[in-house]
């Protein structure tokens, strides 16, 4: 394991913590949405990280990586495929969040989450 490996893991965890911190402390719902995407990015990074194998190359079969040796030469390709899905879904969720946030703030006349608690107890 090398420095790079732990740097990525650390960055990812940092992003998640920053994101969650933002979600819990921001009052503006758009900022909360932004905080979610930060945390999401961290999670995605972590997902890619989980397929990392030291000293290997990208899982793209070209001249450098003959198909026959691919298994021992490239990093785990599966998380990379998964993270694509995750990113796409993340974009969809973020878009929906923004739509809801904008419409909600228009309808309620405020973007302050502290004033969106008519439903409680």
């Amino acid at each position: 394991m090398n420095v790079f490996y732990w740097t990525v893991a650390g960055t990812a965890s940092g992003l998640i913590i920053v994101g969650l911190w933002g979600v819990l402390t921001r009052k503006n719902i758009l900022r909360i949405g932004l905080a979610f995407t930060i945390a999401d990015t961290g999670v995605n990074l972590l997902l890619v990280w989980s397929g990392y194998l030291p000293g290997r190359t990208t899982p793209i079969l070209n001249g450098d990586v003959p198909a026959a040796e691919a298994v021992s030469a490239v990093v785990d390709p599966l998380p990379q495929a998964l993270v694509l899905t995750s990113i796409v879904i993340g974009v969809a969720v973020a878009a929906l969040f923004v739509v809801v946030a904008v419409l909600a703030s228009r309808r309620l006349g405020t973007a302050d989450i502290r004033r969106m608690k008519e439903l409680k107890w």
Partner: protein, 973 residues
Amino acid sequence: MVTALAVFLPLLGAFLTAWLTHRNERLSLLITRLFLLAGLAAILVIAARLGAVTDGGLENTMILRTGVMTPPLSIDLKVTGWSALAAVVVYVGALLGVGRFSGRIPGTQPLLLTLVTTSLGLMFATDFFNSFVFIEIGSIITIGLTAAGRCRRRWEVALKTAMISGLVTILYLLAVVIVYRTTGELRLTAISTMTGFPAILVSGLLLTVIMTEIKAFPLSGWGLDFYQGVDKNFAAVYSSTWSLAVLLWSARMLTVLPLPDPGVLARIGAGGLVLGQLAGLRQRDPGRMMGYSTSAYASILLILAGTVHGADYLSLTLLFFTFASLSKTTVFLMADPEEEDDPWKKVSGYVLLLPLLCITGIPPFPVFWAKIRMLTVLADISPLLMGAVILGLFFESVYIYRLWSSRTGPWQKKRKYFDAAFMGAALLAAGTVWTAAGAEQGLSLSGELFRAGFVRDLFLAIFAGGTLLSLPGAFRGGPGEKSPAVWMLVSGVALTLLPLSGNGLTFYVLWEISAFAAVIGVSKGARPSEGTFWFAVFAGAAGYLLLASLVLSDGAVSSPGIPMLLVAAAALLKMGQGGAHLWNVRAYSTAPSTMAAFLSGTSSKAAVFLLVFSASAAAILPLGTSLAWIGALTALGMAAMASLESDYKKVLAYASVSQLGYVIMGIGLTSVLGWTAAIYHTFNHFLFKSILFLGAAGVIARTGTSDYDSLGGLVKRMPLTFTFTLISVIAFAGVPPLSGFGSKWLLYNALVEQGMLPLALVAMFASVVAFLYAFRLLYAVFLGQLAPRHYEVKEAPLAVLAPQGVFTAVLMALSFRPTLLLDRLVPAVASIAGLGGEIPVIEGTALSTSLGYWDAWSVGMMVMGVFGFAFVFYWISGRRPIHVGQLDIGFAGELPPSPEEVHYAGDFFRPFRRALAFLPEIHASKVFGGIVKTADLAGDVFRSLFTGDARTYLLHSLIILTVMILWMKGGTP
């Protein structure tokens, strides 16, 4: 192929309707329905192929390959008999809801269809990443459809749901990363082999995700807000599709979590159930109540996952959640989403009854069978856990009752509005029949749960006779009341079958049916809410005590030890003993009078029956002496209360509880004499209390009031009612020669025989006090001055008069020839094992004990002789009576004030009240009010967790996550 169709047909439909939806709305709706129907047909075929409803069929499996490769390169779906049946409910729920939701809000069909496919996908998913995709799509659609709804608060709900799903995504993906990193696999089942800290981390993350998604307390805050603010017709669809899918997915996940100790789940669930439902007690918003109920089911899932395994787990989760979902869908379909504050405002209680009963799992509705099996399993593991669960379920039934009882709307006539809801109700009814027929321990009316014999037949006669004789008067309610006849009949039939129960389960089912039918009957009164509420709460509490006893004694109604104590407590509650009279007084006084007659005269005997047979089966009655004291003090206290009360029906209610105190006293003695006296008095009480309440029903029907101050002087207007009332008053006051004396005399004998002189003194003193209210009752209603507005009052209606005549005839026969009853009763009681003391001897018409003898026939003849002699003497003495009009009174030259003022019935026993003023006043209403207030306060503490700020809910999830990880870390070295 069929499997693929079953899953993806709705998705196909979604593409089609997406194109159609703004071009031709009706066609689009039709196509939506067609695709759903086709999908339903396909899933039914699959369920049949898997043999899902056969023995062990829930575990049969079918794999659906959606690509050419194997997972994780393609999506592999696994359909089991279990999930196929749940998928049927998903389709049914969507079909029921689509008209009300998409029909009202155009353009929602494609999303709704996609939601169905997504729900099925999640239920059938086999690996982590597919599950993730389905969870995300499901959340997106949920947020979208929430925002599409037509209610004011939808934005707040959508935003909160979006925030929650944002957090769930992060936590879930973290778990996926750890799973993949550790095991190199993504199959859902792969995690079960994990160990060490990664296992703890994954368990914590997934458990938090699951608890948030299924809305288990304390992570239920967003769910409560969701159900409160969402468009109720979307909630209808949501409950049976996405909500059910998430529950079943969680049910699978919970079994494979690498927890150090799965029992933790049960404890989290039970704790959440008690505290979460406690928080729900104070709830007034009906939508939110449904949210609390959802959270109860979520807790039940956790409990099941921690305690039940294998095939049992599958069948129980299926029973619980499919029927709960369907019931919720039906309830939400009845709502009017445009009504923000109370969507069920326009609905009558009748239409909501069935789905709400299904939700609470009252027998014999489907969830009940699952409940009783769950409790049986829990009882073996830990009775404490079982007690907690029962308490939580009791809390749930209280607020669900409140939701039901505040329905005042008219019967909804708009078919268009309601046909889907009725369809749902019909399905629930069919499910009820199906589950009851297939229940493992079936219902049976043939068996020897209660030893056949005279005692059992006597109770049978009481239940059948009492129902038949109370019924005629019930067809027409009194002033301002509705007719309780149907519910009285249901309750009465269940009561009549009670002694014939073949097993404990049947007994409990009949007991509960009888109780809730009676609650509905009581609710027909003129001012029902408060009395009905207390009746429902006490009947519910008694029911749950009985359920606990049933579960602990393995199918019998009771067994020695704790179960017997529980049964005794249930019986005392039901009879209003030891302070529980609160419900009797409030319910009897607000119920329709004939219903009160039925409850007091007939229905209360079910508790005596229960106590007598449980005690004789258990061969011993623990704390018999305490029981006797409770009975004695109740008899005395209630007699005093009856004397000071000024409401006709309340007096009778107090009197009823007081008289049942003698019964409890007799049973508590556990001697032949005591039990003979108790059962004898039970029968007497049945007769005279029925007469008194039916008499009151007649008086109230004619005069429209039950207030002593407004009554009086009715003797000439209602002579027959007066005669019957007089006879029963003499009977219950325990004056010879009528039969009340016989049972009390026997009771005193039993008390003296057992050496319980202080108790005998209390009993006798209570009898004296009974005199006070007996006399006052006669005076206030029938004697004294007649109010001018009652000049035209006629005799009571025949429907209540004729039954009184029958009761009186039996009472008179029994008074003069008690041996008709005792000839059979004494040997029957003497043959019950475990009863000590002497056996009274019957010779001819006389009954003798070692302390003396009582010959009712001779005494009766003597009394008749004395009266007859006086009458004849008076008649032949030649003095002709002068007829004086009832209002012809002189006031020593003064002009008499109005008759009402002369009729001093109001504060009749003021001197006694003053004389006893030094005693501390203990009011049952204050005690119970205090209990309710404490529960409410405690509930408020937990309720205040749900601040309405979505960030708080996220924080809850994170705190729970941290706590769980630390807890599990502490548990494993």
